[in-house]
Symmetry: C2
Subunit: 291 residues, 2 copies
Amino acid sequence: MGYFPNPIAKKLMQQKTFNIGVVVPEFVNAFFPEVIIGIQQVLIKKGYQVLIMQSNESYQTELSNVHTLVENMVDGLIISLSRETSNIDFYKSLIDQGYPIVFFNRYNDTLPASKVIFDDAKWSFFATEHLILSGRKKIFHLSAYQHLQLAKNRIKGYKMAMDKYRIAYRPDWIIETGLMMEEGEQMAKKILKSDNIPDGLSCANDMVALGAMRGLKEMGIRIPEDIAVTGFTESPFAPLVDPPLTSVLQPTHEMGEIAAKLLLRHIENEIAQPETVILNGILNIRKSSHI
Amino acid sequence: MGYFPNPIAKKLMQQKTFNIGVVVPEFVNAFFPEVIIGIQQVLIKKGYQVLIMQSNESYQTELSNVHTLVENMVDGLIISLSRETSNIDFYKSLIDQGYPIVFFNRYNDTLPASKVIFDDAKWSFFATEHLILSGRKKIFHLSAYQHLQLAKNRIKGYKMAMDKYRIAYRPDWIIETGLMMEEGEQMAKKILKSDNIPDGLSCANDMVALGAMRGLKEMGIRIPEDIAVTGFTESPFAPLVDPPLTSVLQPTHEMGEIAAKLLLRHIENEIAQPETVILNGILNIRKSSHI
């Protein structure tokens, strides 16, 4: 093994291109590919190349990915953290040295870095409020991995809605489930086997909601008659499933575009202090959540 | 702008990592992210980093991507061509110089390169045959961009099935549609507005099939009673839509794994001559295609 010593590569080395590295935690959900499309649309126009690496939700892989991109001398980084990432020392040292870096979606709020995030608490509040206004009282929240900031914020939104309508929810109504379809399906089946059955499920994302719907349907539960379901992070399939899934549309392309523009402003030294952009969404109400 | 001169990067430069570049045409369909997960599973275990670039179906972007990866001295490339790519001179020169390169899914069969492909003709034949055996006679094929080899092969499979059952199809029953959901939806609506209505649609992929189903349903057509539909390249949503979509499952992870293993054998000089691996699938029959 070794570097490939070819004349084309040598010639190209002299035509400097500008490269941006993008590191995402996973490729299973459509969310990250969609954000990347937004990032790329901005950067290609400006003559940048985009190098993408995915971390498979592993901190070690993420760290290797970031190292590789820095080694390959990218001019800036756009990152969404893996679910394992709690050690942020390397990011801190990059930021301290003035390395241009922007976080999106999954971030660590102790890092003094620019970030583009979604107003998860507000929109989780709206989704849960919609279930309450549709007559549901015993609403469970299937949460994402709870150390993620987005999971915390979506739980916060759920609690705000339950509190507003004075519904005395119990702590075990908030159930850590994950972000994958299989996790939603298994959790729905587990809940149905217990003696603690909800009449509504507010899910942390669409994949969990779609998995839960599959589990509920397999066990003969009617959606929404027996249990109403809402998702989050609208997938292109939300309107197509049976019944169509109520979901919060996040502006994925816009999130990518804004992250890319923010990074360019850092690279071009237009801003020195970190900026935070908080995006809003749309609650698309469909049949899964109301009769 | 310029390379970031930090001590961490300099230190890392001395710890050589081995990098593989992956270039894919698009990120809109789940297919390419799934193949990349398979590629990465093999390569991470072997200590390789995976750098991904997407071409947005543009030949110019693809060429820039490949240049950037060669400039950044990746040790090998795994590529699926954009729909625009017809000029293959650069790939030819890389291969002639012995650069390790493996194509998957979308390739150019004049290139003397290793590739991992799907037996599109065979499985398109099975999907169309299933529609015929379910009683359909006027089956249209919504094809992918027809200069793509996979589009040609899926058309070939459709024709083989129609010929086998002596159904006298007309050339205008094969309609170039694309690979995106919107394209399927628009084509379905266009067909319904004509006076030439099929009783079956064999679609080049699931996104086109899902889009077509959306278009048909909006126009009040019953699936499968009025028009039966089959997809291709099973998406995770095929079983969840209404009605569930019959589709050909392609082994996406396996395609990625095999491409990665083939590339490693080229890098380690275990094989000198190009090899072609042809994969098979499964026809998952669901309600969209038969009453």
